[in-house]
Homo-oligomer: 211 residues x 4
Amino acid sequence: MTPRKPAAAREGEPLSAHLVAAAERLLARHGAAGLTVRAIAREAQVADGVLYNHFADKEELIALALRAHVRSVERSLPPLPTAAGSGTLEDNLRSYVGYGLALHLAILPAFAGLVAHPKILHRFAELSMPVEQGPPLRAALTAYLRAEQALGRLSPEADPDAAATMIVGACHELILPHLFHGTPAAEIAVPPDFAGKLVATCLRGIAPPGV
Amino acid sequence: MTPRKPAAAREGEPLSAHLVAAAERLLARHGAAGLTVRAIAREAQVADGVLYNHFADKEELIALALRAHVRSVERSLPPLPTAAGSGTLEDNLRSYVGYGLALHLAILPAFAGLVAHPKILHRFAELSMPVEQGPPLRAALTAYLRAEQALGRLSPEADPDAAATMIVGACHELILPHLFHGTPAAEIAVPPDFAGKLVATCLRGIAPPGV
Amino acid sequence: MTPRKPAAAREGEPLSAHLVAAAERLLARHGAAGLTVRAIAREAQVADGVLYNHFADKEELIALALRAHVRSVERSLPPLPTAAGSGTLEDNLRSYVGYGLALHLAILPAFAGLVAHPKILHRFAELSMPVEQGPPLRAALTAYLRAEQALGRLSPEADPDAAATMIVGACHELILPHLFHGTPAAEIAVPPDFAGKLVATCLRGIAPPGV
Amino acid sequence: MTPRKPAAAREGEPLSAHLVAAAERLLARHGAAGLTVRAIAREAQVADGVLYNHFADKEELIALALRAHVRSVERSLPPLPTAAGSGTLEDNLRSYVGYGLALHLAILPAFAGLVAHPKILHRFAELSMPVEQGPPLRAALTAYLRAEQALGRLSPEADPDAAATMIVGACHELILPHLFHGTPAAEIAVPPDFAGKLVATCLRGIAPPGV
DNA sequence: TATGAATGAGCTTTCATTCAT
DNA sequence: GATGAATGAAAGCTCATTCAT
């Protein structure tokens, strides 16, 4: 009982993508707080009801927006060094740390904010790969470490799993407390040479020399 | 025509504490999801409106409940080895890992679920100490490592900050992905000897012997 | 986040009854059309959300309003002649017809309008007696006829069930077509001596004398 | 970039008829509940908007569908005995009863469900003849009874109007309560020899012999 | 003429908060 | 202090209707 305006010109882009992009923007900006269908519609400059012409419900749209957010952040980051043996081990690991920091800085707020909405996370999980051996970044780092170990650039006794868990975990650890403190993501500062110190510690260990 | 009942059997306990305890119970059980004022009142077996006689608003009550939850979990865990020099370093670090896992398993769901409610987190932050050097557990571990280093049980070149970040971070890393996957906290399994492998890796490093 | 006014003074009457009465008024006036929770709240002069403090949902309230409507109509009608043997049979049957007409005139619009809302009707059915042998009026008439038959004031071969069905049905038949025609209930006219003709026909039958 | 398909295989049938048929199908299947424009379009396998190229609005389409439904049910039933004097009176009346039961079983749910939509019913009424002397079936039965009366096969004092009202009404009475109870039309059972008992009662009356 | 994406008022329902008692 | 009924904004979602293509 109320149509009329054809509304905002969106130039060829399908509205579903436009809506996902709008939701993604809100997710990136404010996390899951205030992520209502009305807010999304306003951000997308479309009518309140449109979303239901393209998605089953709010959950589906937000799950897609979350995926888009993760992908877009991943695309914005330099590629990870996956080829073992090239470059120095330290440089490569520092790249992983930098990647992890940037990635988590961008996506942790969204994920954490959605912990109270398990339905959305479940939808998101359905969209993704099986992921049963941990999140993609940790899996990639584990694989990389294993490859380096095979080349002899890592101690044969090293535990790639544990090392990857520590390194990726350290990236979380730098960000989570700020999140839990209410600090806006933009204001989180990385201590100088965080990556360098982390990698050094991980490579050489902290035990005293003769042990 | 309706008031004056002391309501539930609370035996002299101030009502504010009773309310905080009720909110804490809900927080521990279901995280932040469904944590409504009505649900808290029902859990506390008191009237809907009481909370406003004791707290400024819902945010304040939940912030206090969050603090109570953290404290109660901390109290339930064995004390951390803070005296450097006693016991073996490895054992002590394994204690920290065990502590961190148990602590995060219990409190991460609540914290993560509240990321979408910055007002509550801000209130919670005001309740705590300045804590600007990271969360308490990491600070404690850093202090412990520094003390061991002073005793010569750690390499003089070790970076206690980085090591603490990695160790505490690894505990997060084990739990967060499950949270983001929607797994109920109760079902999260710790891999066998997680602590041992972590500590070994951290102590000895992963670089090949001769480096 | 928005209380303030104590609103309309309702002098002791519980709000649940007030809401049921408001819904009943709308039901009586317009049938089920436009019977929204907002319309009910406006009719009751209360806030939109109140109803959920007293009823599980809209269905429950309307089911109760429907019952209240039926009861209130029943109360407004003269009592049915249930004592067989007193008065003349014809007079008594005419009373039934008059009763049926008035009753159906008042309640058929509401019932018919709710046929498209089976959930409400189901809730209503749960509120009522088992009613498995037809609606109360028909049951009462059947019982009355049976009693008269036992007294010999009815042919021993008469079929009270069939007769009751015809008589009550005739009352429906007078009203339904108007309902289906969109005639407002108020404008439905009963032909002169409808009851008398009906009763005469039923008593004497339409077969020619000698058969 | 999207139009021009003739859509479903409709083989020359005008689209308006196709739409009416689709709406009729839904009406027959589920009554008026869930009878949305989209549901009709999906049933017809055409675009959502087409209906507005052929009908003023939803009301008009459904009114036409209702008429189509009534006609299609009528066509599916054996013809009524309209020729007075042929066959036995009882058989003929039993035919009317059977016809009325089958007819009402099929169309009452639709009509009743639309009572809350007076606009549709009004549109439907406009489509039909003046019909001011009651619905077609009752009119036909009245006419038939009158003809039989003229032939002397009915008492000269019988009131064909009242008799027709009772008979047709009895058919309503058997079905309506189930509708109001939420019983799906398919499950409504007719008591054994309902027609026979009804006709006998109507023919012979229920008064005791000597009266 | 057919399409179907877009519109937006309106629906039911939830919930933090107030206040007369 | 305690009660809990009442408030009303705002949430997620539906659906008749329009109109550029």
